[in-house]
């Protein structure tokens, strides 16, 4: 363990757009014994507040960043030691880290540029791409957000998935065109398929959240060859039982004060919803045509399917499929995962609401990574 005597605690990169974070406060004091995975420091990003966990067990020998400090991703927050290396060694470690840090910071600037691609009928899809690391998995992952969300809802996930990751804005959402055809899942799935073709992605592990899960399932039924594996978060397709009041309330809200209470319903911990998070959603909703598109999708794909649709026959699908849900989901109750066909792994995560991939990011990331690895390429 000699090489790991001292471990740097650094500013995390939660999502592709995060460049800095603000230290809210330490949850452990200088000199405290911490276990790997323990929550040690609270960090606020432009979007939300989250807790950074210890990457190693040991003694928290230095808490360097102070509450209120705004620091770039990768900056040194503190130091964890395996034993008692002495002050000199710690100071030398810190000095070396700070010397190396500036150069590393500069190299990292180019990977968070938003991209877009224009498909048939002049539909532009905005997306972000994060390449796989050196020993990363070959199978790309495509992330499909939920109703009214956008690619930023994956801020705690994208960078942790060990694959080439494409997080796209569904039509009508985020920076993508405000054109949703008839608003149906078939239309949205068709666009995702076109997106894959345009980017030369023959096959991917599709990870869909809520509405995105319905789109993923529709894609798997219509274009099974393109779907190597499916991870469904908080949604099961057209048969999903959904809190209709939420959909209607979210659609109608056009101010911070009216929207925030609805957004808080998405989380087990309502404090996750920051002013900036609400502001981002409002900005997206206020773009001309966005609300009309959301209304169309809600009517066609979420609230009232044209045909009363039985829960899709998941057993028909041949690709590996896993389902992840938050126990305290107030938008789509987790009970509905009870009677799924054999062979589908269901993970219900405690203390997480509808946004399970934000509230239990670490757990969800591992489930997605492991599933990708098992599926192979």
């Amino acid at each position: 363990m000699a090489g790991h005597e001292l471990t740097a605690v650094t500013m995390p990169k939660w999502g592709m757009s995060m460049t800095t974070g603000q230290v809210v406060g330490w949850l452990e004091e200088d000199g405290a014994r911490v276990e790997k995975g323990a929550e040690i420091v609270e960090i606020e990003t432009e979007k939300t507040v989250n807790v950074l966990e210890a990457v190693e067990s040991g003694i928290l020998v230095r808490t360097i960043a102070q509450a209120g400090d705004k620091l770039p991703v990768g900056a040194l927050l503190g130091v964890i030691a395996q034993n008692s290396p002495g002050n000199e060694a710690i100071e030398a470690f810190i000095e070396k880290f700070q010397q190396d840090f500036t150069t590393r910071d500069n190299n990292d600037a180019s990977d968070n540029q938003p991209l877009d691609i224009t498909l048939a009928d002049n539909i532009t899809i905005a997306y972000q791409y994060l390449p796989a690391g050196q020993d990363g998995d070959n199978l790309p992952i495509i992330l499909l957000h939920g109703f009214g969300g956008d690619r930023n809802s994956w801020l705690f996930n994208s960078a942790e998935l060990n694959s080439g990751v494409y997080a796209l804005d569904l039509p009508g959402h985020g920076g993508s065109s405000k054109k949703v055809g008839d608003g149906s899942l078939a239309f949205l799935a068709h666009i995702v398929s076109e997106f894959m073709t345009a980017l030369d992605l023959p096959k991917a592990h599709i990870v869909g959240h809520s509405l995105g899960a319905s789109v993923a399932l529709s894609l798997a039924h219509s274009f099974p060859a393109k779907v190597a594996a499916l991870t469904l978060l908080s949604g099961l397709g057209t048969g999903t039982e959904v809190n209709r009041q939420y959909i209607e309330g979210f659609l109608a809200a056009n101010r911070r004060k009216t929207l925030k209470p609805w957004m808080q319903q998405l989380f087990f911990n309502a404090d996750m919803v920051s002013r900036d998070m609400v502001e981002e959603v409002l900005k997206a909703k206020r773009i001309e045509g966005a609300e009309a598109c959301l209304g169309k999708i809600a009517a066609a794909a979420v609230l009232a399917p044209a045909e009363p649709n039985p829960a899709p026959d998941l057993a028909q699908l041949t690709m590996p499929l896993q389902v992840i849900w938050g126990r305290q989901d107030r938008i789509a109750p987790p009970d509905q995962t009870r009677d799924l066909p054999d062979g589908i792994t269901v993970t219900i995560i405690e203390k997480a609401g509808h946004m399970v991939h934000m509230e239990a990011a670490k757990r969800v990331n591992k489930l997605i990574r492991d599933f990708s690895a098992r599926t192979g390429s």
Binding site: E279, R286, E288
Partner: protein, 337 residues
């Protein structure tokens, strides 16, 4: 999404609304800018180049360049609005409102009320406010508190390009007269502004900065002075919350009270004068409805009750700066400077 200046954001809002709705027209002095200047129509787009390109796209029928008679063309715009168009009148400097007050105050503002809600005046008056260019006392005032006095007028004071575009689109689509105040020192400010049209509702303040120690309410260009002060104060361990009301009528008092309830301290930074201004108005509302949460007297940071000097050194002293905001915050925090 591209970065755009405040000037471009205003131009784009007008352009997109004129494309969307043929009833939207532009009327004012020099809006076709350069008419009469060497025969080059559209050469300038007004003194600040805000309306550049609109004449070329929409023609002289919808971009009406008028003689120097504010009384004439503001009246013309109100008449056009009464007749079914949705004019944007360009009152170059807000100081010139004096000669058209009857049309604006006694006609446009009261039209809906006096006709029992059967008709309204869908008019937007765009106008420049603010000191800082040393262009003297009749070209540098902030008269939005005066406009805000009159029931029946809506008043917008955007502090950044994103807000300027979204609020101007709302103004043009509003069925009542709106006075849209552009600060002349903000035209070069650049930030990300969506290419598509979007509208921001009136009466919703923006949280510019979250903080727990002091609430600073700042308007128009003063939002940036407050931010400058807050950055320095943060280094001293004082955490300021900055609120930009964005519209002075309707005014989002609820958000201000909510913030003061949390911080207990209020500093209001306004470039309009200290008497009968927005700072005085907001201070009175908080004193009435939020007194029990106050831990210190409210402080107004405004220019003195004086005409605006043209001499640059005196003008600089006149406009509130970060040092004055910092001193006010220190005072409400009980710190000695």
């Amino acid at each position: 999404m591209a970065k755009k200046s405040y000037r471009q954001a205003v131009n784009e809002a007008i352009q997109q609304e004129m494309r969307r709705d043929s009833a939207v027209i532009l009327i004012g002095e020099d809006v076709a800018g350069g008419a009469g200047a060497g025969g080059k129509d559209d050469a300038w787009g007004g003194p600040m180049a805000v309306t550049k390109g609109l004449l070329a796209e929409f023609g002289a029928e919808r971009v009406v360049d008028t003689p120097i008679s504010e009384a004439g063309y503001i009246g013309m715009a109100i008449g056009a609005a009464a007749g079914g168009l949705r004019p944007i009148a360009d009152l170059m400097f807000n100081d010139f409102i004096g000669v058209c007050f009857d049309q604006v105050v006694n006609q446009a503002a009261k039209y809906r009320y006096m006709y029992g809600g059967q008709d309204s005046i869908p008019l937007t008056i765009r106008t420049m406010i603010g000191a800082g260019l040393s262009i003297s006392a009749q070209h540098s005032q902030c008269l939005y508190p005066v406009f805000s006095y009159f029931a029946g007028l809506k008043v917008v004071v955007p502090s950044c390009p994103y807000d300027a575009k979204g609020l101007l689109i709302s103004a043009i689509r509003d069925n009542d007269p709106v006075i849209f105040c552009e600060h002349k020192l903000l035209y070069d400010m650049v930030e990300e502004v969506p290419d598509s049209p979007y509208s921001i509702p009136f009466g919703e303040a923006r949280f510019v900065r979250d903080g727990g120690d002091v609430t600073i309410v700042a308007l128009s260009r003063m939002v940036h002075i407050a931010l400058e002060a807050a950055t320095i104060l943060a280094e001293q361990g004082i955490d300021c919350e900055i609120i930009d009301p964005r519209t002075t009528t309707p005014l989002d008092v609820e958000t201000i009270l909510e913030s003061v309830a949390a911080t207990g301290r209020l500093v209001i930074v306004d470039e309009a004068g200290p008497r009968c201004g927005m700072a005085a108005d907001i201070a009175a509302m908080v004193a009435e409805d939020g007194f029990s949460s106050l831990k210190a007297p409210i402080i107004k940071v405004t220019p003195p009750h004086s005409p605006i000097p043209a001499a640059p050194n005196l003008e600089k002293l006149y406009i509130p700066d970060a040092a004055r905001v910092i001193a006010a915050v220190h005072k409400v925090m009980g710190r000695k400077d």
